[in-house]
């Protein structure tokens, strides 16, 4: 910290405490990690399987969130309708709901006997629970609010007059959104996507409740970590570190690639 340019202590002290608060538990994991047996543990196919499933499902869930969440954020930020405030608070429900309850709620709607799931089963023979699709759905359900809130904020911060300018040039509402609005809020969408992906990657409660836990099919890293914790805490630490290292590597690479 250079003299004159440094943060005042009223900010610097809580900032340092805040950072320590976030980093110390990680240090705890690193200290307790069984470094000597690490390579052989990592070579276990079950670990790689869970990691692959985690990455694939979190990425698919993020894609689902982008496809559904960006339009939802647009509607909330750019249109006026009765009950908009209610809708806005409904969007945050998955953030407040304990994830396990979210998983039960998903079962009640999309399960084999659920409100919608019943008809899916009867009409198409599709049952969602215990499939990788269910993992994606559970993760998307929990992660969607993060994307919607971030993108809505970006939309509110963006100057709507650019959209007006595009309209006077003859662009339809869809063209305006695609060629002007979306590029303008791209950093916000990216940030929302990263949050969404991170949340999906760490998702546990809704996933295990709605999708169950079966290696190769629905067992993501957090589920594997939780079960390893029952009998083998060291294995749980290894799995957590793998998940952490991979996600940090991916996010750093993304940041270098996309954010100048």
């Amino acid at each position: 910290m250079r003299a004159g340019r440094g943060a005042p202590w009223m900010l610097a002290v809580p900032a340092a405490v805040g950072l320590a608060f976030l980093v110390l538990p990680l240090v705890g994991l690193l200290v307790r990690a069984p470094w000597r047996t690490l390579p052989q543990r990592l070579a276990e196919p079950a670990v790689l399987e869970a990691l692959r499933l985690s990455l694939v499902s979190a990425t698919l869930a993020t894609a689902v969130c982008l496809v559904l969440g960006v339009p939802l954020a647009w509607v909330l930020a750019r249109t006026r309708f009765r009950g908009r405030r209610l809708v806005r608070s409904l969007v945050t429900v998955p953030m407040v709901l304990p994830p396990v309850v979210g998983g039960v709620a998903l079962l009640l709607v999309l399960g084999r006997n659920g409100l919608v799931g019943r008809h899916l089963d009867a009409a198409f023979g599709i049952t969602l629970p215990f499939t990788t699709a269910a993992v994606v759905i559970a993760e998307a359900f929990v992660a969607l609010p993060f994307l919607v809130i971030t993108v809505e904020g970006a939309l509110r911060a963006a100057d709507p007059r650019f959209e007006e300018a595009a309209a006077t040039l003859g662009a339809s509402r869809w063209t305006v959104f695609r060629r002007v609005t979306l590029p303008l809020i791209a950093p916000g969408v990216l940030a929302g996507g990263v949050l969404c992906w991170s949340r999906a990657l760490g998702e546990f409660g809704a996933t295990i409740t709605f999708a169950g836990n079966f290696p190769g099919e629905t067992q993501t890293m957090p589920l594997a970590v939780y079960l390893a914790l029952e009998t083998d805490p060291e294995a749980a630490i290894v799995l957590s570190l793998v998940l952490l290292a991979v996600s940090v590597a991916i996010l750093t690479a993304l940041r270098d690639r996309w954010i100048p």
């Binding site: 039960v104 215990f130 169950g212 079960l227 009998t231």
Partner: protein, 255 residues
């Protein structure tokens, strides 16, 4: 000097905090008025009942429960959680506490037996254990890492069956939920869980369950802040009154 002061101050501090948390009528910092019991989740209903009669019999005593997965509880105890009594759903988890020299003479007080649980009405027409190996019958099991999963594995091996479950749940309650919601056609859970679920599920007994009896040990903990009360509570758990309660809940009691 400092160390001595600390050893004197710590119990007082603990008593203070537990008194504050329990909200009991603390008539002196040193008096044991709170008993802390760590018990397996499957004991929730029976132990809560026992706790009430224990409080009624011992004036001014409050019993605090921490129900959870046996493995998690064992871990909390080995990490220094201030518990008086530990009741586990498997000897293995009790062993981890005993290995850390924290549990005194564990005693088995009940055992629990697996049953096949099917949703009310038994939509997949499951009659016996072998039916669980049928294609088209969706089965939920507990994960091997938790006691009910270990027991299920043992029973399946004893029967020589090849069962492919759709899910390996993190605990027995989660497994049962999949049955009550009708998401699976059958699950292996404890008899006590089938009884607790009422008429939402039906239980089917099967002979191989005898090969996978799950014993529940209870022990007073070495560092118990309220050791005398803990001993009293364990005596209650082993009493005839408790046995009736456990039997009603579906446990098998040892004679």
């Amino acid at each position: 000097m400092f160390k001595r002061a600390l050893t004197l101050a710590l119990p007082a501090l603990l008593a203070l905090t537990t008194a504050a948390c329990g909200g009991s009528s603390g008539d002196g910092a040193a008096k044991e008025t709170t008993l802390t019991v760590f018990a397996a989740a499957s004991l929730t209903e029976t132990f809560t009942e026992l706790g009430k009669s224990f409080e009624a019999a011992n004036d001014g005593v409050t019993v605090k429960f921490n129900f959870g997965s046996s493995a998690t509880l064992a871990q909390q105890i080995t990490q220094g959680a201030p518990a008086d009594v530990f009741a586990a759903a498997s000897p293995a988890t009790m062993q981890t506490v005993a290995d850390a020299a924290l549990a005194e003479a564990p005693t088995t007080f009940v055992s629990n037996k697996l049953e096949i649980a099917v949703p009310a009405g038994n939509p997949a027409k499951v009659d016996d254990f072998a039916d669980l190996a049928n294609k088209g019958v969706k089965v939920a099991l507990c994960a091997e890492q938790v006691p009910c999963g270990a027991a299920a594995k043992k029973a399946i091996e004893a029967a020589g069956l090849k069962i492919t479950p759709v899910t390996l749940e993190q605990d027995v309650k989660a497994t049962l939920t999949k049955v009550t919601l009708g998401e699976v056609d059958a699950a292996l859970v404890y008899r006590t869980d089938v009884i607790a679920a009422g008429d939402k599920v039906e239980g089917i007994e099967f002979p191989e369950a005898e090969k996978a009896i799950n014993d529940y040990p209870v022990a007073v903990l070495k560092n118990a802040p309220a050791k005398d009360l803990a001993q009293l509570f364990v005596t209650l758990v082993l009493s005839q009154q408790a046995k009736d309660l456990f039997t009603k809940a579906g446990f098998t009691t040892t004679p």
